[in-house]
Symmetry: C2
Subunit: 192 residues, 2 copies
């Protein structure tokens, strides 16, 4: 695995192809076991974790570091699947330093769920769609389709990741599989 | 023409298609007459300006404003062409607030020329290539091909645009048409 560059960062040409960035930085892999407390049906999550422990998503970063004044990028791939009826999704996070971010759909279909602690919004994502995440909105991505859902993220290096915020406040709504595609339902915390 | 939104900005779904962003913000059009003092052959520039005054490039912005903490985006289309042997290009600018930026090639081929006042770098751009512009590097885009060259820019809203910097300091090198494709030559200021 490669790592982030140390500043000062030189001008760079970064090629994007399928699930590849070249040159590449760190890769992060999230399995069901990494999503403790996030799925609505905790019994289903526990048994799926103990039997297979699927990779839910991976995040491949460019070598541009997460430091102030830089503008790092990453490609997230969320596998298709559900835990009980809840679609595979990212943990979701809030930026400790409130900064905007964009997601650009690359392949597959999905959703971008946003929550500011009061209102939630859901943006349907597809290739060539930009999802704009304003400062102050927690965000989670969901694969709502049968193929891997992949998107490019671009975000200020100072933004940071607060995952605890989502455990404390939720995301406003959940995205469940439905015959029509997907249903948005009230969040409710995990059933114990 | 639409305009930038006023903060606070809501979460947004922005569709990208050909030279379109929907919803869209302001569009800026640059003709040869807007590139005074930038082409090497000033006599050729003046006569081409007086006879036709081609549109050299246009910049279509999303509605996300250029204000701190937001992350605006734009699509630039540089038309194919040359003035004397110098390829059509953007004015080039430096960020008064030194912040990184990315360009993502969408169609056609081109180049990203960077200059920090001392060194210059040239990045060949094509679809699915990310050009990374570190903080502190002035940047100019060039169409080196026969078709329009189009790219998505993503940049922190606080960055700003200093065009005077390029008039004072140049860009280190120029990009000229050559049988082999393109040549990089020393900058030299405009001939009077």
């Amino acid at each position: 695995m490669s790592t982030y560059l140390a500043p000062p960062i030189p001008p760079m040409r970064i090629e994007m192809a399928d699930t590849m960035l070249a040159p590449e930085g760190p890769t992060l892999t999230r399995r069901l076991s990494d999503l403790d407390g996030l799925f609505r049906d905790e019994d289903a999550w526990r048994s799926r974790r103990d039997a297979g422990n699927d990779v839910v998503y991976s995040v491949l970063s460019s070598p541009v570091p997460e430091t102030p004044r830089e503008l790092p990028q990453s490609i997230t791939t969320i596998n298709p699947g559900t835990c009980a009826e809840e679609f595979y999704m990212t943990k979701g996070h809030q930026h400790p330093d409130p900064q905007g971010e964009i997601y650009l759909g690359l392949s597959g279909i999905g959703g971008l769920l946003l929550f500011d602690g009061d209102q939630s919004e859901f943006i349907e994502m597809a290739p060539s769609v930009i999802g704009y995440i304003p400062p102050g909105w927690a965000h989670r991505s969901i694969n709502t389709g049968p193929e891997p859902y992949r998107f490019l993220a671009v975000y200020p290096g100072s933004a940071g990741h607060d995952y605890e915020w989502v455990l404390r406040h939720g995301m406003g709504r959940r995205v469940l599989h439905a015959d029509s595609g997907h249903d948005l339902v009230p969040y409710r915390t995990a059933t114990k």
